[in-house]
């Protein structure tokens, strides 16, 4: 009987450790889109630090059979705290891998290789880690109060592990169910767009790397205190793949899914295979276990990519709280049927907090000999242009004229090869795009750029600047701190949605909308970012002409209330109707500038269009 109870206690501890690890990895992978293939480094690092902090000083005479560092003989819970702190510190060397410049899969490969190599180093480096043998006789944390061999101790340990796991669960939920969590998911869905809306992608990823690392370190500490030994063989890079399998099976982006996955995959596999009788080939069962993990990953990603418990759709609108079924948008729906609600009654000045004098038409943004080359081919060449405050300036030109490239350089998405960008007289050429966004320069993208697995309303709210819950600390302070502000932001976004006649889609995933609807979502989202200057990259492309004109009318109204808009288009009809002045680019140079009627009179402009 007691053998079974001992077994149950062991299962509880292992289950808690695996759950904690999966919760942490899920926040990184499922919420922030950070594929930390080196997760095991953090767990192993925390476990080692917990071990050596709790062990006595290293002496050659008695315990000299194994070598290690520190040996501070600290009492519980200090070694565990140390483990968590170390796990967080370990994130720092990897910060450069998670910047926005590096493709996600390249960063993941970097982390994977780090895990492989560090494991090999530890295996061979005796002075610090005692090599492949690892360290044993790690003190049991509560041995002052209970006999570690007794059943009571085992259950107390299991209880502590479970309580800590529950605390981690609620801590992570507090982070992810906040405006900050929304920003994390936005970054997961499209990091370049999140950056262009003013989110600091590098800081967000670093924070999640540190937070996940701390929890991983703690989980390692719990494990090492229970089994009393630490050997590098148990922390191979493939263990991370097991945790990934757990999250994919359980459901990425769902905390309960992470726990379920932890109980099914790492724990389940370990325990089920324990009861398989020994075979003549001792390598067979572990080998088949790995094969099963591999098949599980491939099978789930193919047949049930969202896992057993898929990510929850966040219902923000009041309407969603009733049990009415939400309309499912069909992508085949004709965009000409979109009815732009009561847009004409909408008070943009109030809704978008527009400030400043609408009659001031001074220069707000200019470029000085802006140049960009790709592979030695100059796409934009010495472009010097000026944009007036409170005007809708059009940028036209044939395909390949450098319009989008110029816009990207204005927004900071692309660095110029040479030349300068000046914003209100200040040189901002080296200012990162997310900071430009924060200072009021918001761009949209030519290609679809909605955050697919955020609802339409979440897409809009995510763009609103200066949200009180949109920081790690703000999120930790809880709903009481940011709830009121968030409700107000949701209110504003809903108002915008109503104006554009899309209220019925508030709680639908943006990824499921039709092309025209997604365009509208992007424009609304850009507006809610409260731009001083709005940079639109072909906003009317693929939009029904009727709708395009309705949008154009609203842009004119926005300009009249003091906003500056720069719009790239090659539809001349749109330019005719709304843009003044218009700048013509051809082959990377400014060809002409003026009102549309002036430009129509110029022979070279007409030629550029006909030839281009």
């Amino acid at each position: 009987m007691s053998a079974i109870l001992f077994y149950v206690a062991t299962i509880i501890v292992y289950g808690a450790v695996d759950s904690m690890a999966c919760l942490a990895l899920n926040v990184q992978f499922g919420f922030a889109g950070l594929s930390n293939f080196g997760f095991i480094i953090f767990q192993a690092g925390g476990a080692y630090v917990a071990a050596v902090l709790s062990m006595g000083p290293w002496q050659k005479s008695n315990e000299g059979f194994q070598s290690y560092v520190l040996g501070w003989h600290l009492a519980w819970p200090l070694p565990w705290i140390g483990a968590a702190l170390f796990g967080g510190l370990l994130a720092l060397p990897f910060v450069f891998l998670v910047g926005k410049r590096l493709r996600g899969d390249f960063a993941a490969v970097g982390l994977l290789v780090s895990a492989v190599l560090l494991n090999q180093l530890v295996n061979n480096f005796v002075p610090l880690f005692n090599g492949a043998a690892g360290i044993s006789i790690v003190p049991a944390p509560f041995s002052h109060y209970w006999n570690p061999q007794g059943l009571a101790y085992q259950f107390v340990y299991g209880g502590v592990a479970v309580v800590l796991t529950v605390l981690v669960y609620f801590l992570l939920r507090r982070v992810t169910e906040s405006p900050y969590g929304r920003s994390l998911r936005a970054m997961r869905d499209n990091d370049i767009v999140a950056d262009a809306l003013g989110k600091n992608v590098r800081v967000q990823r670093t924070s999640m790397l540190i937070l996940g690392g701390m929890i991983a370190g703690l989980s390692g500490a719990i494990l090492v205190g229970f089994i009393n030994l630490w050997a590098p063989g148990a922390w191979g890079y493939a263990e991370t793949i097991v945790l990934f399998a757990a999250i994919i099976v359980g459901g990425a982006g769902n905390h309960k899914g992470a726990v379920l996955g932890a109980l099914l995959v790492p724990l389940g596999f370990e325990e089920v295979t324990r009861f398989i009788p020994p075979l003549s080939n001792p390598a067979l069962v572990p080998a088949l276990e790995w094969v099963a993990i591999g098949l599980l990953i491939i099978g789930f990603l193919w047949f049930r990519p969202d896992g057993i418990l898929p990510e929850r759709r966040r219902i923000l609108s009041g309407a969603g709280k009733s049990s009415l079924p939400m309309p499912v948008p069909s992508s085949g729906e004709s965009d000409s049927l979109i009815n732009l609600g009561n847009l004409d009654q909408m008070d943009f000045r109030q809704l978008l907090r527009l400030e400043g004098d609408a009659s001031d038409h001074g220069i707000i943004l200019s470029t000085d000999r802006l140049t960009r080359a790709f592979h030695g081919v100059t796409v934009v060449s010495e472009v010097s242009i000026e944009f007036q405050r409170g005007r809708l300036t059009g940028l036209i030109g044939p395909n390949g004229a450098g319009k989008s490239t110029t816009l990207a350089m204005l927004a900071g998405t692309l660095a110029p090869t040479s030349g300068k960008v000046l914003y209100e007289g200040r040189d901002i050429t080296s200012m990162p795009s997310n900071e430009r966004a924060k200072s009021g320069m918001i761009r949209t993208f030519q290609l679809a750029s909605e955050f697919k697995k955020l609802t339409v309303l979440e897409n809009l709210v995510s763009a609103i600047p200066r949200q009180s819950g949109d920081s790690f600390v703000g999120a930790l302070r809880g709903r009481r701190f940011w709830g009121r502000d968030d409700a107000e932001n949701i209110e504003r976004a809903s108002e915008m949605l109503e104006g554009f006649g899309l209220t019925q889609y508030a709680d639908s995933y943006a990824g499921g909308l039709s092309g025209g609807q997604r365009r509208l979502v992007e424009i609304m989202r850009a507006l809610l970012a409260q731009p001083t200057i709005l940079l639109l990259d072909e906003p009317m492309a693929g939009v029904h002409p009727n709708l395009a004109h309705k949008i154009g009318d609203q842009l004119t109204r926005l300009v009249a209330s003091g906003m500056t808009i720069v719009m790239v288009e090659h539809e001349l009809a749109i330019m005719d109707a709304f843009c003044d002045p218009v700048i013509v680019l051809a082959e990377g140079r400014v060809l002409a500038q003026g009102t549309m009627s002036e430009l129509r009179a110029m022979k070279e402009v007409v030629e550029a269009y006909l030839v281009g």
């Binding site: 594929s35 450069f96 891998l97 410049r101 590096l102 493709r103 996600g104 899969d105 390249f106 960063a107 993941a108 490969v109 970097g110 994977l112 290789v113 780090s114 492989v116 190599l117 090999q120 180093l121 061979n124 493939a238 793949i241 990934f244 399998a245 994919i248 080939n281 001792p282 390598a283 067979l284 572990p286 080998a287 088949l288 276990e289 790995w290 094969v291 993990i293 591999g294 098949l295 599980l296 990953i297 491939i298 990603l301 193919w302 990519p305 790709f374 592979h375």
Partner: protein, 291 residues
Amino acid sequence: MSVFLSSLGFGLISAAVLAIATVGFTMQFAVTNVLNLAYGSVMINSAFVTYYLNYHAHLNAWVAMIGGVLTGAIASYLLNRFVFTPFQRRNLPPITIVIVALGVDLCGTFGLQAIVGGSYFSYRQSLGRERHFWGMYLSTLQLIIIGICVVVMGLIHWLLKYTRLGKAMRATSANASLARNSGIRTQRVISSTWLISGALCGLAGTVFAMNTGVFEATSAQLYIVLLLAAMFLGGPGSAYGAMLGALTIGVATELSAGYFNPEYKEVIAFVVLLGMLTFRPYGLFGSEKTI
């Protein structure tokens, strides 16, 4: 000086094996944008097919190698056709494909281990006479491996520069949709690429096993580190970059093993890889991928 020269000799051998492997790996990335982390498992499975033909069917190891090469080609083709392509059709982010590849790697490596067990194997093959020149000691076997590498690299150069297929590969790599619109049958180009790169993978697996002497089912698991380092040094997707990267990494690891500690010889590859990812993720020469 003698340490330098003998390490250089070892380095050339490592580089020869690595170059064959990396060129195949980088071609797969160039044409399909897949970081095929299951590459090592295909390598070792091919090496075992060679082993079977050599040891149990009593074929000469060099003849048996043809079986390994064919295994690599067919396995890679099937992998792309039935795993990577269907997943890619779903428009999933590249990271999902990488995770799938890791799953395939586990199945391939440990499926093999389940069959052959955990013991060590070696080919029935003589190393040949040891030759000594300019302070380097190389066996006949190693000289043949270097020779194979030189010939294969020459063939790849010819393929990419002078054949229609090679040009189509380069076009597909640079811009797949543009290539398709220009009348290139990209699906066929991709299939050919996986067959050719798979053959390189099978060849690399066999010469890797020959060069190591003894091998087991999990022997190639760490090889992916060297491979990635060589690829990123030369620029991901660039075949010539891969050759140069393999030469650098092969020689550098053996030199560091000669002068410092052989147990840490992969460290230099690791440092190179992280350095490249940090500062020049598109290689020393490339700014975007080009085959």
